[in-house]
Symmetry: D2
Subunit: 399 residues, 4 copies
């Protein structure tokens, strides 16, 4: 039987997919489960896959790769989608695709399978990336293909296969989470209605601002070339730094986003995200850039952040465009080094100070009044030149 | 003697300018003081100008005009400069210029004078606008021209003219404020250092988040065609609505911005702003737009908000470009009507719900699981087409 | 039997579709054929449709509507796709969709059918527009659905229905043309290879530059508010003006484009276009804009021309975004009035002079040397201010 | 006496500047004359400078550096200003500035002087670059400072200094040329009027299209990573290649631009340029990019070409932004290799074929009709998804 590598999260869908792929597609399943910061028990996941009939279960800690190859360039670019989404899930998908293809090669598999449904962005991101990296691989999306439309049907199918569904590590209470180092998205049928406030118990990474500590906490984040290297003066490995910052900011209720978003597949959805560390880092880095990048650099950078975010959101990670944008951002971040002090308090990360040896800000000379350093003649000359186009238009209007 | 209309704020600079313009420029001064929401006592200002030698003192309440002709289009456009500056002072300058030119015509004046220094943006904005609207007028900028470089020299000059400086309505304690309906900027020599936190007593429109009420407050803002028309279901005139919202949000510590900014005149400055109502309205309107504008409209709108903000910041209000952008924004705002609920709490305005009769969001049909509405074939077809460019690039890379 | 309105061009595909829709979809066909400048004999088309079994044949001259509602806004916007494609076919599709929906309403039809294949852009444009305007209508695309894959199969099917294929008005020799007032696209299997020169006999609207007259011809085009109103001083109706200019420029070999283009459906195609009048008008209008629009207006206009072109190319004509862009362009074109003289010669339209009562260009004062009008102090002041950001960066680099 | 390095072109202005700098600024002059492709006799220039009183005369062939460090990145970026200006002079100014600063260091000079007037862009470009690279240097601009306002006054001053003006290598007949490898700009008082055709005798690099050969000439240009490496299959050094192409294309009348342009100093000017090789290379490279870059890459590239051009035009060459853009363009040009065939004929360079081993274009499979390769289901699925936003807006409009 040909082999299929299945992205296995432990959900009912991916569990049931194991016997289904065998029965309906005649495929031996190798499960693949990765840790990108989701806090699932990978060992246990592997065992469940084997119990469900997988011929092998691969597990892998990808957190370092996730930070280095995906989070880092996105953070350098301050990539975002529609301002508020900092791309946690979207960034993890090309990594998952890359690893699925790698494992498929190692295992001699001919197929790759995933548990995405037909309504979301992830199917596009995963399949686009898999086709790019492993065009020889056939992709199976059981969720789009099978007849098991309802939860009950899937449970029923599991029972006929004598499978106990077990815990879905992505489900807590009535919510489903897609979590990784960079944040999480939260799904729930009752969350859909954007005209109603989101239930407080949906959030698991952040405290309610109203329940957050009454004392603010200050954290100094140090950046080198656009990436964080230390918290409060203490250097630490990147993954540890982000985990630490997730915890610190989460306690203060920071990093929630409750937004309407335009999905790649053409409709608007209501999305709930938590990304405590990511939001702090964006806030802090943006303040540092204001100090260290020229006006023109900031303008171009800003426009490209949107382009970069679109690339990621739309599943175009493995493209020449993204790689070329990375080159731009690596260069422009060379001077984005320094320290930003951020106050964490009741749901908000506020920049209160920033400093950099690459600062372009120049304090007025001591002892001077603030005004007057730019000599008056220069100002007048500038105004004269600057006003020329306006006065030409105004003269025309009068005529 | 020819006449000069002087923008008179009651500052020591503009007070001293009255005798100086007479003595050094041989001009009779008509003072002009306007209320754009700064809460100065205009009557008293007029009297002081007359005492200082002005031949006439004009005072005017411009708040309605400010909202209608300047705040409204900027809000429709969600105009901003470098993300955080919502343009309070920048928007007021073209209005001031327009009125100075109008008064100069009415008074038969040949000159217009202002109290801006040679280091800021306002001199550019004012003079560009005056030249556009009244190219026949000569502009005098005493601050750039006179020898009275220090505060002490100005005081000394006042004394020789037997003028008592009186209260500068823009100065409170060691800070200087430029305030209007849309917010205020705060200046102080000791504020300059961006590596240090800003002193809490600089802020006058907003409470410290740490001192703000422990109970959150919810406010429902209703928009029609992109402009606010009601608070908590209560319709009110625009100016009153903004004043009310300034007060409400200010109590909760909302609307502060502490940023490094690129001045038009080429250097970076450290700026402190407060704009409680403006920030709430931007936040609420943006959420409503996400619900009512298409993805493509949002993308184009976003880019133009930056262009619009640059227009305003750079003193190019009276330009064909700004007027054409207004046309775009009026049309695109036709469907930006609805209600946004915002929670005010400890420094942050958070959108918790939004609704609109023009919503483009469609809830999944009742009883359905969320996924599956988009039929699988459509999704697969889309993915197939969407992936074509990526796979073409990937195929090339392998070759 | 329910009715179906079929876009009928007289091609073998649309002819065969008439009996096919009856036989396989159980639909009575009303054919719809329109003149947008393609020079087909509409009367004869109608007769052929009836002969093929249509229950009614509608024919319509849409040239004025095409100019007024589609060409005009695109020309105001200088809309283009990938620089060289001036959107002739793309602009005609939303008009065709609009009329198909209107006729369907008038005829009480439940279906609309078209002859586009599954590989092109037109199916997307037509169907997107039909769904927007007539969401109640079902769309049939026989070319995508039937088994008649080859030309021979279609001929065979025609024979079984006793239909004589007749002349396809879009086919001349081995080429197929989609022509209208604004230009034409040319298809031929042998045209596909972009590594070989295009055969000269493919072109029907333009002479070969090498065969064009040895004498250049000058034409003065007058614009009012961005639209052409006169040629060589002679006012004429818009459609006549464009037809005249198509002829004039075509003789001189002007308006060809031979390009690789990114189709909406994800792959690159090799496209051949002719658009003599459109190219002349773009060239002339662009030169006039350089004279009458400010630098900032030109910059924003340029970016939006691309956005507008994408809207058109991608089938998003009936969108709020397009309507809002129209508002922008109507305003900005208010000063785009004047005359441009264009030299037509051997394949190229070259602007040789332009003039406008709204010109922003100011000739240096007579008797002056050209240089020196801007006084030196102003220049120096401007340079001082302008260089500040660069010197700040340079100072940092040294440190 | 302190030393001053003077950019010496041999013009009357720069000649007269030599004694003037000594007399009025108390400076010893070292003249600096460079060959960037202007075909001046540098040896003779040096002798004239010495005769005029320079204490030393430096001459240098900078053509290779000009190509490598300035033309190459601009060509990779397809940088332009207002579409038609390919930046010949603008690109040469930062190189001149760099060399002036270098020579000043070598000579121990404290001052740098140039012959630009107060009305043009070049003063800004030169001084901005000199301040960035040599902030310790004082800049003298005699043209802006002296009393020698008219040509006659300068001649008179020369006579008092017993200087014979000699030939200005930039002046031919009534025209003044600023020429280099990448093209030239042409100045003449009578050229100013943009409502009149430009006199034919202004052009020296290009034949009149009407006088050009009746036989077209084809040239195949080969690019590697975005730069030209061979003409008609013959590899040659870059400078030689451009000189050759300038000659070939010039004979056919290719490369003229006659445009109204927005100067950096705020007003519109009428500019005449010739850039035969540059225009051919842009045309050929653009066609190759259409074949080798993805749609998304082309879109982002296009926007950045404008940003890059503005950087160059506005004198911001020595900036982090330009360097970061270079990184982007180096990466994106990695696949811009291949050959473009261009037909040179009567004023126009027309792409007639292009090929690349990195082509993203895929010919339809042999034996297939062109249409039908994209399966119908994929097309339908795509249309379904693509139309969702439009139908949502349309549904709203009806409601």
């Amino acid at each position: 039987m040909p082999k299929c590598v299945l992205a296995f999260s432990g959900s009912l869908e991916t569990l049931v997919a194991i016997p289904w792929l065998k029965e309906h597609r005649n495929l031996d399943v190798v499960s693949f489960s990765a840790n990108m910061g989701e806090e699932a028990d990978l060992e246990e996941l592997g065992e469940r896959a084997l119990l469900a009939g997988a011929i092998a279960a691969r597990i892998e800690d990808l957190r370092d790769a996730f930070f280095k190859d995906f989070i880092s360039p996105a953070l350098r670019a301050l990539a975002h989608y529609e301002t508020h989404y900092l791309l946690s899930t979207a960034l993890s998908r090309p990594l998952l695709a890359r690893e699925l293809v790698r494992v498929a090669l190692e295992e001699g598999a001919t197929h790759v399978a995933h548990g995405c449904s037909g309504r979301g962005n992830d199917q596009v991101r995963l399949e686009a990336a898999i086709q790019a990296l492993g065009p020889h691989l056939k992709i199976v999306a059981p969720q789009r293909e099978w007849e098991l439309k309802t939860h009950e049907q899937k449970l029923q199918y599991a029972r006929t296969k004598r499978l106990s569904p077990g815990n879905d590590p992505q489900i807590h209470g009535k919510f489903k989470y897609d979590r990784n180092l960079w944040g999480q998205s939260i799904k729930c049928p009752t969350l859909e209605d954007p005209t109603k406030p989101t239930a407080e118990d949906a959030y698991t990474l952040t405290k309610s601002p109203m329940q957050a500590p009454d004392q603010p906490e200050e954290v100094e984040i140090e950046f080198r070339a656009g990436l964080p290297v230390a918290l409060n003066g203490k250097r630490m490995p990147s993954v540890a730094l982000i985990e630490k910052l997730n915890a610190m900011a989460g306690i203060h209720g920071i990093g929630r986003a409750d937004m309407i978003e335009d999905r790649l597949v053409g409709f608007k959805s209501h999305e709930i995200y938590e990304a405590p560390a990511a939001l702090c880092l964006y806030t802090a880095k943006r303040a540092l850039e204001q100090m260290t990048l020229s006006r023109e650099s900031l303008q171009v950078r800003e426009g490209l952040s949107t382009a970069y975010g679109r690339c990621v959101y739309n599943g175009q990670w493995f493209s020449d465009l993204r790689e070329a944008l990375d080159q731009f951002y690596e260069r422009i971040n060379q001077s984005v080094s320094g320290k930003t002090s951020v106050r964490l308090y009741k749901g908000t990360a506020t920049v209160i100070a920033r400093s950099s040896e690459f600062s372009l800000y120049q304090a007025p000379p001591a002892g001077s009044t603030k005004d007057g350093e730019l000599d008056s003649d220069a100002a007048q000359g500038f105004i004269r030149v600057w006003s020329l186009p306006l006065t030409a238009e105004a003269r025309r209007k009068k005529a």
